[in-house]
């Protein structure tokens, strides 16, 4: 750095008046085939990035990002599932000695030790040797960690009920005439409490859309019930109304 007497500045600023040449360093003296980051290496990185971006965009287009139906806190039967990279932690808590009375082992002790050791790795593994084969403890512990995480994630995936998961959060897209006399009756009756405003079901009643039942069969269920959930005599009204309701429900189809 130039300092001392004789320095010239731009105006009254602290910017030196002497211009420095804008030329890259000479890399010929560096060991091996060292090259400049700008622009030589950045161009190569750019190409890797472009190839990666193509794969990324294909993934985006082929698999539309999922969206389930709007959150309904009353649906007690929903089986929750975190994003895939949390599955191993989630699965850990299903084991006897990491749940119930021992839950602290699963939520604090094991993850704390694992992530604590990861964070403090440079202070635990202080030797000068860098090759994995020359530091068997560090390598071994990391491999053990990797195997555990893979195993737990795998177990979590194979024990999850994917069939149910597929249907439980599905967006139900039905359009029906809200002014239909059948729907008016439906809303006035106790049906709406369990089968929901949109007839798509809830915690205690199944969906009434696309049942494939004939009006007579629906009338029978409304009167006599259907074990285990549907009580008998749920419908309170005239036979005419019941018929209208049954016809309305029978016509509902999933789009």
């Amino acid at each position: 750095m130039h300092r001392g007497k004789g320095m010239k500045f731009v105006g009254d600023s602290r910017v030196p008046a002497e211009r420095k040449p804008n030329i890259p360093k000479d890399y010929s003296e560096f060991p091996g085939k060292t090259e400049a980051f700008w622009p030589n290496f950045l161009l190569k990185e750019w190409m890797v990035g472009a190839v990666f971006l193509i794969g990324y965009l294909i993934l985006t287009i082929v698999h539309e990002s999922p969206l389930e139906k709007k959150a309904d806190p009353t649906d007690a039967g929903y089986i929750p599932l975190p994003d895939w990279y949390f599955l191993f932690l989630y699965q850990l808590l299903k084991y006897k000695y990491a749940a119930g009375d021992y839950v602290l082992i699963g939520t604090v002790i094991i993850p704390g030790l694992a992530f604590g050791a990861l964070m403090l790795a440079p202070f635990l593994d202080k030797g000068l040797e860098r090759r994995p084969s020359k530091r068997p403890i560090a390598t071994g512990l990391m491999l053990l960690g990797l195997i555990s995480v893979t195993y737990l994630t795998w177990e979590s995936v194979v024990t999850h009920d994917w069939e149910k998961a597929k249907t439980q959060g599905k967006i139900v897209d039905v359009s029906f005439d809200e002014n239909d006399p059948g729907y008016k009756i439906y809303q006035k009756q106790s049906c709406v409490g369990c089968h929901g405003n949109t007839l798509s079901g809830g915690a205690s009643g199944p969906s009434l859309i696309g049942t494939g039942l004939k009006p007579e069969e629906i009338m029978k269920i409304a009167k006599e019930g259907k074990p285990p959930g549907m009580p008998p005599n749920a419908f309170k009204g005239s036979d005419d109304e019941l018929k209208q309701l049954a016809e309305f429900i029978s016509k509902l189809e999933q789009k």
């Binding site: 890399y27 890797v48 990002s65 949390f86 440079p122 090759r131 439980q168």
Partner: protein, 223 residues
């Protein structure tokens, strides 16, 4: 013309030393996949950064439509996904980017670990890197709730229940995250604020430190 603009600015602000500092750093042969194909393992860190940039950009576009309240959140995401031109692409990139960034960061961590590149004098950079990992997981956790669909709500409920089992810290964390007893309107706005302001700010600070340190120390030598 460009040169003239550059000279004009340079005369006033002396930007050449700054620019040479950014541009002039050597890339040794052993990290350059053009010389040794196996050096592709050194790409994972850069790709993590690349996806992070995409996440920030796509996230900025998502907030143009997203409404963080329990009445409109799901509807706004549904609208974005089904009605907005290219909305499905923007949301898709943000959704898949969230997974890809975890994968790339994981691979980068493994590369650094198995090469022993965290050893003296690079201990601090490793610690900052692990902190970045935690911030990313936090971003994943808070972002998962925002569409306000079934899986979002119930995964967050479970997550907060798990956090509750931790003594002392658990209940405080719950109050901080949920904003009350139930997972509801307050929780969604808090998760939005944490996802969009708090954690990205922390992430940018940590990444700045990460990059400064790697520039100062250089890439670790070959094994």
């Amino acid at each position: 013309m460009l040169q003239k603009i550059y000279d004009w600015v340079d005369e006033r602000l002396d930007i050449t030393p700054l620019w040479r500092d950014v541009a002039d750093h050597e890339v040794p042969e052993h990290v350059n996949p053009a010389h040794h194909f196996s050096a592709f393992v050194y790409c994972f860190g850069g790709l993590t950064f690349f996806i992070t940039v995409i996440q920030i950009l796509s996230g900025m576009f998502l907030t143009m439509y997203y409404v963080p309240d329990i009445v409109n959140a799901w509807e706004s995401v549904y609208y974005l996904q089904n009605e907005v031109a290219f909305g499905v692409i923007v949301r898709g990139m943000h959704h898949w980017g969230a997974s890809l960034v975890i994968v790339m960061m994981f691979l980068h961590t493994l590369r650094v670990f198995f090469q022993g590149a965290y050893k003296k004098p690079r201990e601090l950079n490793w610690v900052v890197g692990v902190l970045i990992f935690f911030v990313m997981l936090g971003l994943g956790f808070t972002g998962y709730l925002l569409p306000w669909d079934m899986k979002a709500l119930f995964a967050t409920k479970v997550g907060i229940e798990i956090a509750m089992t931790i003594p002392v810290v658990g209940p405080i964390a719950k109050t901080f995250l949920a904003g009350g007893e139930i997972i509801g309107a307050q929780t969604l706005t808090r998760f939005f604020a944490i996802h969009v302001f708090f954690l990205p700010a922390a992430l940018l600070g940590l990444m700045g430190a990460h990059f400064l340190m790697i520039r100062k120390q250089g890439i670790s030598g070959p094994l």
